[in-house]
Symmetry: C3
Subunit: 347 residues, 3 copies
């Protein structure tokens, strides 16, 4: 969607310098932007590079003396302002309302106004799809599912029976919501499946990555809080409770009944043992592990198992200097032996 | 499926107290169960909480003096008994036999009695689907595939050509069975694919998680033993041999030609280097790694690379106390230096 | 495709001994090969086992004195020669050109000669599919996608809008190419999505594993270089640049804007922090992590964070002997105390 530069300045609440009447049609990286495109400088130290861009407009940090000769919009947080402007310039793909003739919709399903249903989509009995939601090619929605408004369900997503999806939720290609969890009870040699008959609730404005999986509750529910963003190939097990605005990077695994508080940030390839608790605002570094029985407080954590980041760095330094420590102990041993010999020689 | 309380008591071989003639229609968590629902107390120490449940019937450990006033069924292993009863109360979703008009079945494929084939399913040439098996929406079965009885193939599963699937197998949404393995031979700059022309056998009662992958053998076969349960997002490479009743948690990766014996338990995010061997009954802790050339014996293992769990815990304690050790060595050094000065002063 | 033994000898540039006029129809493992099948001995020390195979022809290392009585082909690199011959014996599955009647192809899409489009495939507006490419059942191609010649797109693959795919590319089942990346800007409590409007380029001869994900660029592009091979369940984030002939094993995650040079080899479950750089020819051991800010030079690396392999092994040995070091320090402390007492006793 094209916007005038002054409209963008207004949108991001920034200070406009230069001609605000030019039209901007898209956003681009600083080095690639051309006329009619919006770019940004994230930090003051990058201001010099702005001389070389052909962008139609630059968002810059306040108090930048940019060498750029075109229009600029000065703000406190240029990356945030750029993201906001780019969202307006590049709204969600516009898909025409309507149900593709190849889609299979159960008679009892309720498809609201303005819904796009792509080729080979399947919607089961008694499911409800809210207005403005897109179901892209090959998306599969089970029975008794409730999907809110303006969701974007990418190709090949599977939503199993009874799942509840809020509004403005984005499920990327191949994501699986509401699969039965992984719980077994052993009695001697026999493994019997613990019932996986609960449900799953994905609240508003959640984003779930490509080929990520969110299992339903065993009993009770699995819940992903409003505004939470989950990357690709992440596993969320049965009965997990994730708070609001949590960010979880790719290939992390959250075991059964874990509780993650609001505003936590989780790096890639992190593992959480079942029944652990992460307090609101905790940051868990990539590749780390929360071991069984752990309750992680607010703060920054790293390691296998996680410890506070400063301690992790200190320990790592100690480990790196182990060869030196070993040598010191050896030298000390030799010195002590010499001392002892001298001493005994004196007797 | 509704059951009388006395029928449940009989099913789990438990001691009934109270009115056995009431009807139970479903299973639920202790805190959420209402009249007509079955719940359980796993451990004696939780017996007090039972006073507050509204469940229609409780499964309890033997010798519990529960404050619960309704019917109870006392057993040795309540969780196991509950799982067994819940399986009876919540059988596999009942889907009507028949082939959805949108499904594409090759003329030479053989679909047995009582099979459910959902919308947009595809079954290739010469494949066989056993009686009572469900192929849910969008499942894709290649050519020459054999699927046994009463399997549940969830939406969007892909079974590649020639795979052999036993009976009562559950493949969750997005699982890929029989993809070509990842093997290349390098000659100078050239990477050439090693042939991936073997097959894959999934034995009876196996469960494979959502978006998990099991590659076919390069030459020969990949095999998953009867009763083995694999969680979501797990990678099983070419020519892996997994025994019976093995449990593998999410995001673990098993490299080519690994052998895992019966009854092993593997945590989440574990990695196995190719050609390693895990003896029957071994337990591999989450996040650990089996390095090349390793043969893992029965017992509990942890770490990168894996070592026996007690040793792992000891080493971790040593690592955690490295700052203390460093300080001790430093103090000792100072003491020795003082001693030496004193000694030399005496000479 | 059947070949005469002498044709195979010629193909792999090997020295034929025995009857070259027999027909070979397929490749197999040494222990399983029968008449009419080709097998190989990788190393001289395995030459004895060749006496027991029933293979129709063996590829052997030069200077082997095999006890095998059939035809042999001697080469410098038997595994490579075997792979080359097997590729000829087992060419890509032959699928008849044509578009399945259930497939949905946009009017403006361009499907070249000799393309196979399977059941329930979807191809969006203005997309181009090159000659000889196979789209297997349920593959989904968005709008404005360009796919080269002779690609194999397995079932259930999703290619999002605007992606560019080279020739002879293999995308295995469930792979997702061009999903929007995972980038958010935080302003106080608000998380706003950074634009994910770039593109993705998969060069010639790339292979991408089952259920792996390659995100499009945020701005600019994500690029996978020619001949690179990526295993199952791998995550490639936005704006990653991967060179040519790189090999990446399963469950590895490459964060945003990482640059990996040509001919790198990456083990399984490796993690790369965003904006890190890996120089051409580097080898990163399984399960390791490249931490933020790191530039990895050519060589072999391991650990969390990665260090050169010899150093990693040395450090691991030091860690393993920590209990011994602790004991030594303790003994030394006691000895010093005794010395001190003796010394003070003398005063």
């Amino acid at each position: 969607m094209a916007l005038l530069i002054r409209e963008i300045a207004q949108l991001v609440d920034g200070e406009l310098s230069g001609d605000g009447e030019q039209l901007i049609t898209s956003a681009a990286a600083l080095s690639e932007a051309g006329p009619g495109q919006l770019a940004f400088i994230g930090e003051l130290r990058n201001a010099d590079s702005s001389a070389y861009t052909s962008a139609g407009c630059l968002i810059v940090p306040k108090s930048t003396r940019s060498k750029f000769e075109g229009a600029t919009i000065a703000v406190d947080n240029p990356k945030f302002a750029f993201a906001k402007a780019a969202s307006a310039l590049h709204p969600r793909k516009d898909l025409p309302a309507g149900i593709h003739p190849t889609a299979e919709i159960a008679d009892s399903a309720e498809i609201s106004e303005g819904v796009f249903v792509g080729a080979f989509c399947f919607v089961g009995e008694n499911s409800v799809v809210g207005s403005g939601t897109h179901l892209q090619a090959g998306a599969r929605v089970g029975s008794g599912v409730r999907i809110g408004k303006d969701c974007t369900i990418h190709p090949g997503v599977t939503i199993e029976d009874g799942a509840v999806i809020g509004s403005r939720v984005v499920l990327k290609a191949g994501a699986v919501i509401g699969s039965k969890g992984f719980g077994f009870v052993r009695d001697g040699e026999l493994l019997i499946k613990f019932p996986q008959i609960g449900t799953v609730v994905i609240e508003d404005d959640v984003e779930i990555g490509a080929n990520s999986c969110v299992d339903r509750g065993a009993l009770g529910e699995t819940r992903i809080g409003a505004g939470t963003k989950i990357d690709n190939l992440v596993q969320i097990a049965h009965n997990v409770q994730i708070g609001k605005r949590v960010v979880i990077a790719a290939l992390s695994g959250v075991s059964g009944s874990v509780v993650i508080g609001d505003d936590c940030v989780v790096g890639g390839q992190v593992g959480f043992a079942d029944h652990t608790t992460i307090e609101s605002g905790a940051v868990i570094g990539a590749k780390s592990a929360v071991f069984p029985g752990k309750q992680v407080r607010k703060g920054v954590w790293a390691g296998i198992p996680v410890i506070p980041l400063p301690e992790y760095k200190r320990l790592n330094a100690h480990i790196r200097s182990l060869p030196k420590l070993r040598k010191e102990v050896q030298n000390l041993g030799e010195l002590v032996n010499r001392l002892e010999s001298l001493f005994r020689g004196r007797k």
